[in-house]
């Protein structure tokens, strides 16, 4: 049989694909799509979904969707994404073909752009040795920025006494520029999906279409905290409150453990059992009282943090409304205690108003050194082995070295210092202070609510 003729090959390929399109294969591949969209699905859950197909009417689309939903999705927040993915993945063949076609075209377009970019970025007629990620950044630049870069390459190529040995230097300059721009661009909602193509066109097309905005858009969780508008603040507040309640829950649970370790109170047991001739029939216990940790919150409200002020305030307010023993401070050029303003029953708006009126710290320069030094002078008594200190700041401060040494001194007297930094981790390299501070604290990037949730889930408190 002549299998090399194009028609025969097509028939073979289609047959293979049809075989693959059995229900089992579809479920497994669909689970793959969900995983790539960030859901955590174990093999045992996929097996369960497969086992479930024996019990339902698989031709009933709704039942089939409910089966996959009940076995693969274990978080209410993931439901909209699941539904969108299901609609796309189990769509009629013609729609899927359309999607695949669109995806293929987009991929071809991307490849074309990348080779074009490679053509454009040349030094003395030769392409630069830069990777695809950097080329992608170049494509994303504005035309004028691209022109500037091209102009720079042209000028440096034609300089007198410039020979091929300059090439690595020029390459490094271009790479440095592109990676800095990339970091700047990344400073926005960070995609949590794994977007590397798998080579499976259906799978990639579905993931691509969803990331394009079918299912995930609008989730406050992934929005950059500085982009959240005034209207959404209230909703964010509810979310922050929920997250912080989880946090407070964690804190109290941790201490339950010691509280549960009840021990026999010998003195009371002996007394209670005199009536039984000293045989301990009625045991009397004593238990350690539940110790909830103290939280000290220090928030940076300086000029550089002003875009996050909304988040900081919500975080403070949310945490205060669920945790009991909390002392709150704000600082910019100096430290100020704001605990008295955070009265529980007061509404968020009222609290913010009072805070803004009462404090002169808003939007000033940042001097963590002075703030911590004042803290140590005036509030040293708050530092106990049972205290968590939470600092919310971008670590852009004067006197970082002294501030770090103050932080080190505080660290020795508290249980843990946690630092929530709204600057993306990728940019920390450019903030020399970060490294100094990290010696005494655990620093987390935190510029979306998802980050905050992640911090809470990482068992910071355990």
């Amino acid at each position: 049989m002549d299998v090399t003729s194009p028609e025969k090959v097509l028939v073979e390929v289609n047959r293979a694909r049809d075989g693959e399109r059995s229900l089992e294969a579809a479920v497994v591949r669909f689970a793959g799509v969900l995983r790539r969209l960030g859901m955590r699905i174990s093999t045992s859950e996929v097996m369960e979904a497969l086992a479930g197909t024996a019990h339902i009417d698989n031709l009933d689309r709704d039942q089939f969707e409910l089966l996959l939903c009940a076995t693969l999705v274990k978080k209410a927040e993931d439901m909209p994404l699941f539904e969108a993915a299901f609609r796309l993945f189990f769509s009629p063949p013609e729609h899927r073909r359309f999607m695949e076609g669109r995806y293929r075209r987009a991929r071809e377009e991307r490849e074309r752009m990348i080779s074009l970019a490679r053509e454009e970025l040349r030094f003395q007629g030769e392409s630069l040795d830069i990777d695809e990620r950097e080329l992608e950044t170049y494509i994303a630049l504005t035309p004028s920025e691209q022109d500037r870069l091209k102009e720079f390459l042209e000028r440096s190529s034609s300089g007198i006494k410039v020979d091929a040995s300059f090439r690595p230097i020029i390459e490094n300059i271009v790479k440095g520029h592109l990676s800095r721009r990339r970091r700047e661009m990344m400073h926005g909602p960070k995609p949590y999906h794994d977007l590397r193509p798998t080579g499976d066109e259906v799978l990639d097309a579905v993931v691509d279409a969803l990331v394009d905005g079918a299912g995930t858009g609008g989730s406050l969780l992934y929005r950059d905290l500085m982009d959240i508008s005034g209207d959404e603040l209230k909703r964010t507040l509810v979310l922050v409150e929920r997250l912080t309640r989880q946090l407070a829950g964690r804190i109290s649970r941790r201490y339950k453990r010691s509280a549960r370790r009840k021990s026999v109170d010998i003195r009371r047991t002996v007394r209670a059992n005199i009536q039984f001739g000293g045989v301990p029939i009625k045991l009397k216990y004593r238990r350690r009282s539940v110790q909830k940790p103290r939280i000290i919150l220090i928030c940076d409200v300086s000029g550089s943090m002003s875009k996050y002020a909304g988040f900081v305030l919500q975080f403070v307010y949310g945490l205060t409304s669920v945790a009991d023993r909390i002392e709150s401070f704000i600082f910019s050029e100096d430290l100020e205690r704001i605990t008295p303003h955070l009265w529980r029953r007061r509404s968020f708006e009222e609290t913010v108003k009072r805070l803004l009126e009462a404090s002169g710290q808003w939007g000033q320069g940042t001097d963590l050194r002075r703030a911590l030094s004042r803290f140590r002078k005036e509030h040293q008594h708050l530092l106990t082995p049972n205290t968590f200190m939470i600092i919310v700041s971008d670590a852009k401060t004067l006197g970082a070295k002294e501030a770090a040494s103050h932080l080190g001194a505080i660290r020795r007297r508290v249980r843990e210092i946690l630092w929530l930094n709204p600057v993306p981790r990728a940019e920390w390299d450019e903030l020399p202070a970060v490294e100094q501070f990290c010696r005494s604290c655990r620093m987390f990037e935190c510029f979306t609510l998802a980050h905050l949730e992640h911090v809470l889930r990482e068992r910071v408190w355990a």
Binding site: I56, L66, T71, R235, Q246, G249
Partner: protein, 300 residues
């Protein structure tokens, strides 16, 4: 006639639920059915008051099974969930048989089932007839207990050092509920069939009111369901009115001989469906009794 667990069909389950007065859509029935068929625990999440616990009760009724309930709380430990030795009885036994019996024999006797105080989990494993085990508000326990729980739920056996391993006589029907006050561990979720119950649609709630408070007239029933639906839609509610509160409200209106929702009626009875000062304030600020009455009566 109770349902037969071994010959269960989706249709039979649907009928049994309806007969019991639990109005459920396919989105609830299919996961419940799958959990039963696959012999897996059913984890139900949702806002308070959407009828999570009720599912376990309905299951117990339709299978005429015993409902064993483990109410979770912060600090719940294995002793209270699984078993404890009745040491008072053991001490008494020692006292009584002090000089009469061979010590070894006494010791063996002391750690027999007779001296075991079974708590809900062990009780469910030892039950002769397949029981329904309801583990309510599992989000209130701590991570260690959760780990212990999923060990029990995956093998349906526990080991008691003095007695050996106890394996379930019947795999119980397990229902776990959570109000989502915290995220449950992946391990526990992995072992369960997941069901998220949202507040019912207007149509479904009309059916629920019809089933539970049949005295309410058709007009008022629709108005009530629509009004509650609008109230739940309000942003940032601390506690959205539950189905139970809808039913309470309906009963109260019947008692007051009300036939239509009017602003005055809503103002007088607002405490029946909003139980929080902030929520009531938000209600009057965002929507108000007059608008709610208009919204509830306008459509249909």
């Amino acid at each position: 006639m109770p349902l037969d667990y071994d010959k269960l069909t989706l249709e039979a389950l649907r009928e049994a639920f309806a007969k019991d007065g639990y109005i459920a859509g396919e989105n609830i029935l299919v996961p419940v059915y799958l959990a039963l068929q696959l012999g897996k625990p059913l984890l139900i999440e949702g806002e308070p008051g959407v009828g999570k616990t009720e599912i376990a009760k309905v299951l117990a009724r339709v299978f005429s099974a015993e409902l064993i309930r483990l109410q979770c709380y912060e600090g719940l430990d294995e002793n209270r969930a699984l078993y404890e030795w009745n040491y008072q009885r053991q001490l008494l036994k020692i006292q009584i048989t002090k000089d009469r019996l061979d010590p070894e024999e006494v010791e063996q006797d002391l750690f027999s089932e007779e001296y075991l105080l079974t708590r809900p989990l062990l009780k469910a494993l030892l039950a002769e007839k397949r029981p329904v085990l309801l583990i309510d508000e599992v989000d209130k326990t701590d991570a260690e207990f959760e780990a212990f729980l999923f060990e029990v739920l995956s093998d349906f056996q526990v080991s008691i050092p003095e007695l050996g391993t106890v394996t379930a006589r019947q795999i119980p029907i397990v229902v776990l509920t959570s109000n989502r006050s915290r995220e449950l561990s992946d391990g526990l979720k992995r072992r369960c069939i997941y069901l998220y119950i949202d507040f019912p649609s207007v149509e479904r709630e009309v059916e629920i009111i019809r089933a539970k408070v049949p005295e309410v007239g058709e007009v008022l029933r629709r108005q009530l369901a629509r009004a509650i639906h609008h109230v739940r839609e309000l942003p940032d509610m601390r506690k959205k009115p539950s189905i139970a509160e809808t039913l309470d409200w309906a009963r109260a209106l019947v008692a007051m001989d009300v036939e239509r929702l009017e602003p005055k009626v809503i103002e007088d009875t607002i405490n029946l469906f909003l139980k929080n000062k902030d929520d009531i304030e938000a209600f009057f600020k965002e929507i108000g009794a007059e608008n709610l009455a208009r919204l509830a009566t306008a459509e249909g």
